[in-house]
C-alpha cells in the first residue's frame, strides 16, 4: 500500500517536472567550450533574451562533438569554429546555410622561462618547429575541437607530420580548452588556445602568450540552423530568429561590446566577404 502511494507520488513528481513552462520559447544551442569558458554567453544570452524573448540553452562541447550533436538532431542551432568542417556539414545536408558571426585568433601559450625560445616570434610554423626540435612538452586538445583542428593544420604548415613525428613530448589529452590550460599550467607545457578562453582563464600562474599575430592563427566562428527537413523536431522559427539576431547590427554590436579585463576578444564579421 505504502509502495503504491510512493509510486503515485513519484509519477506525479515526474509529470510535474516534465510539464515545464507553458509556451516554450527555448532552443538548444550546441556550441564550443571557448564561447562558454570565455564568458561570452553569460554576457550575450540575456541580451538575446531581451531582444527576441528566446531562452538559449547552451550545451558546450568541442566543435567536432557539437557538429555530431547537430547531425543526430539533438540541438536546434550549432555555433562552432572550424570553417572546413562547417562547410562539410552544410554540404552533407546537415544545415541549409552557414552564417559567419565573429572571429578572433589563436595564441601560443607557454611558460615565462620558454625553453623552446619561441617568445616574440610571429611565425607560428617556426615556433612549432622549435618546440618539436627541442622536444619540449606540448599539450594537444586531441578532441577534434576547432582549436585542435587549427593546431593540426599549424603542424602541417610547419612541415611536420605530427601523427608520425610525435614523441613523449607531445601529449594528446582529449579534453576541453580549460583542462588543457590547467595541465599546461601545472606541467610547464606549451599549448594552443583561442584568445577569449585564455583571457578569461583564472589559473594562468607562470603561463603567458609567447606567439601571436600569425595570419594562420585566425579563428572564425560560424552559426547554422540544423536542417528542419532532416530533423522535424528542430525549432525552425526560433532558431532562425536567434541567428538573425546574432548577425543583425544590434547582435554584432553586442558581440563587439563584450570585454574581458577591459579588452575586446570577439570581433563581429557577419558581413565580411569570405568569412
Amino acid at each position: 500500500m505504502r509502495t503504491a502511494h510512493a509510486l503515485a507520488a513519484a509519477v506525479i513528481l515526474f509529470a510535474a517536472a516534465t510539464a515545464g513552462a507553458p509556451p516554450d520559447r527555448s532552443i538548444v544551442l550546441a556550441s564550443t567550450t571557448s564561447t562558454q569558458d570565455s564568458g561570452l554567453f553569460d554576457y550575450l544570452l540575456p541580451i538575446v533574451k531581451q531582444h527576441t524573448g528566446i531562452t538559449v540553452r547552451v550545451v558546450a562541447q568541442g566543435t567536432g562533438q557539437a557538429l555530431e550533436t547537430a547531425r543526430r538532431g539533438d540541438c536546434d542551432v550549432v555555433l562552432v569554429h572550424a570553417r572546413s568542417e562547417e562547410l562539410k556539414f552544410v554540404a552533407e545536408g546537415g544545415s541549409l546555410r552557414r552564417y559567419p558571426v565573429m572571429d578572433n585568433d589563436f595564441v601560443l601559450i607557454g611558460q615565462k622561462s620558454d625553453p623552446a625560445a619561441i617568445g616574440g616570434m610571429n611565425d607560428a610554423a617556426r615556433a612549432f618547429r622549435s618546440i618539436r626540435d627541442k622536444k619540449v612538452l606540448f599539450i594537444s586538445r586531441g578532441d577534434r575541437s576547432g582549436t585542435n583542428l587549427a593546431e593540426l593544420s599549424l603542424w602541417k604548415a610547419a612541415g611536420i607530420d605530427i601523427a608520425k613525428d610525435k614523441g613523449a613530448w607531445y601529449e594528446s589529452i582529449g579534453q576541453g580548452m580549460g583542462a588543457a590550460l590547467n595541465m599546461a599550467s601545472a606541467r610547464g607545457a606549451y599549448v594552443l588556445s583561442d584568445r577569449a578562453t585564455w583571457a578569461n582563464f583564472r589559473n594562468k600562474a607562470d603561463l603567458r602568450i609567447l606567439v601571436e599575430g600569425d595570419k594562420r592563427m585566425f579563428n572564425q566562428y560560424g552559426v547554422m540552423l540544423v536542417n528542419p527537413v532532416k530533423h522535424p523536431n528542430v525549432k525552425k522559427a526560433l532558431g532562425q530568429a536567434f541567428i538573425e539576431f546574432l548577425i543583425s547590427p544590434e547582435g554584432q554590436q553586442a558581440i563587439a561590446n563584450y570585454r574581458i579585463d577591459g579588452r575586446q576578444v570577439f570581433y563581429p564579421d557577419a558581413n565580411a566577404p569570405g568569412a
Binding site: 509502495t3 510512493a6 509510486l7 513519484a10 513528481l13 515526474f14 517536472a17 516534465t18 538548444v28 567550450t33 562558454q36 569558458d37 554567453f41 553569460d42 540553452r57 547552451v58 550545451v59 558546450a60 543526430r72 538532431g73 539533438d74 540541438c75 576541453g176 580548452m177 580549460g178 583542462a179 590550460l181 590547467n182 599550467s185 578569461n200 582563464f201 583564472r202 589559473n203 594562468k204 530533423h231 523536431n233
Partner: protein, 230 residues
C-alpha cells in the same frame, strides 16, 4: 583560506543561481533514488526469496552492476534518448528528466543488490517461522522488507550517495546547461575548466555539506523510528 569560502559565502547570502544549482542537484538525485528504490527494493526482495533458473548469474550481474561506470550509464541513456535513438520522440535529451533516468539506471542495481543481501540474510533467520506459518511469497517479502526497513535505509543512502557524487552520466545526458541542467558536480567540472579553482573547491565543500546534512537527517529519522518501534 578565505578565497575557498567564496561559494559558501554565495550560499549563505542566498545567491539565487547557486540555490537553483543546489536545488536541482537534490531534486535529480532524490528523484532518481526514489525511482531506483521503487524498482530495486521489490526486485532485490524477489530475488532473495525465490529460486529460479539463472538466479545465481543474475545475482553476480547485479553485484557487478554496482560498479557500472557513470559515463557508460550516461552514454546508454544518451543513445536511447537522442533524437536519432529509439526514444528520441520523447524529446528528453538535455533535460533534468534525462538526468533522473540516467541516475536511476545507475542507482537501481545498487539498491537491488544491497536489498537482496539484506533480505536473504533475514530470510535465513526467519525461514522456519515463516515456513511454519505457511505465509505466501509476496506476504513474506512484505514482512521481511518491513522488518529490514532500517537496514534498507543504508541501501538507499548508498544509492543516493552514488547519485550525488557522479558527474559522468548527467553531464552527457543533461549537457550542463546554465540555469536548466547545471548541478553541483557539473558546475564544479565547469569552474575547474575555467581555472576558477577556489570557486570550484568552494562548490565542492558546499556539496559535501549538503550530502552530510541529508545523511544526518536520515540517521535522525532512523533513530526516531527505532525508538517508536521500541
Amino acid at each position: 583560506m578565505p578565497e575557498n569560502a567564496s561559494a559558501l559565502h554565495l550560499l549563505l547570502t542566498s545567491d539565487p543561481a547557486l540555490r537553483e544549482i543546489v536545488w536541482l542537484s537534490l531534486f535529480v538525485s532524490l528523484s532518481a533514488t526514489l525511482f531506483a528504490a521503487l524498482i530495486g527494493v521489490p526486485a532485490g526482495a524477489l530475488i532473495a526469496l525465490t529460486r529460479f533458473r539463472g538466479r545465481e548469474p543474475l545475482i553476480v550481474l547485479l553485484n557487478a552492476l554496482m560498479g557500472l561506470p557513470p559515463v557508460v550509464a550516461g552514454l546508454v541513456v544518451f543513445l536511447a534518448l537522442s533524437r536519432s535513438g529509439p526514444l528520441g520522440s520523447w524529446g528528453l535529451l538535455f533535460t533534468p528528466q534525462a538526468m533522473i533516468i540516467a541516475q536511476t539506471v545507475l542507482v537501481a542495481p545498487i539498491i537491488a543488490a544491497l536489498t537482496r543481501q539484506t533480505i536473504e540474510d533475514l530470510w535465513m533467520e526467519y525461514r522456519d517461522e515463516l515456513t511454519a506459518m505457511n505465509v505466501a511469497p509476496v506476504r513474506r517479502a512484505i514482512t521481511l522488507i518491513a522488518d529490514a526497513q532500517f537496514s534498507l535505509v543504508t541501501a538507499l543512502l548508498a544509492g543516493f550517495g552514488r547519485a550525488t557524487a557522479e558527474v559522468g552520466a548527467i553531464i552527457i545526458v543533461g549537457g550542463n546547461i546554465d540555469g536548466f541542467t547545471r548541478t553541483m558536480t557539473t558546475a564544479i567540472a565547469l569552474e575547474t575548466s575555467k581555472g576558477e579553482l577556489p570557486l570550484a573547491i568552494g562548490l565542492g565543500i558546499v556539496l559535501m555539506l549538503v550530502v552530510f546534512a541529508i545523511n544526518a537527517l536520515a540517521w535522525g529519522a532512523r533513530r526516531a523510528g527505532e525508538r517508536l518501534a521500541g
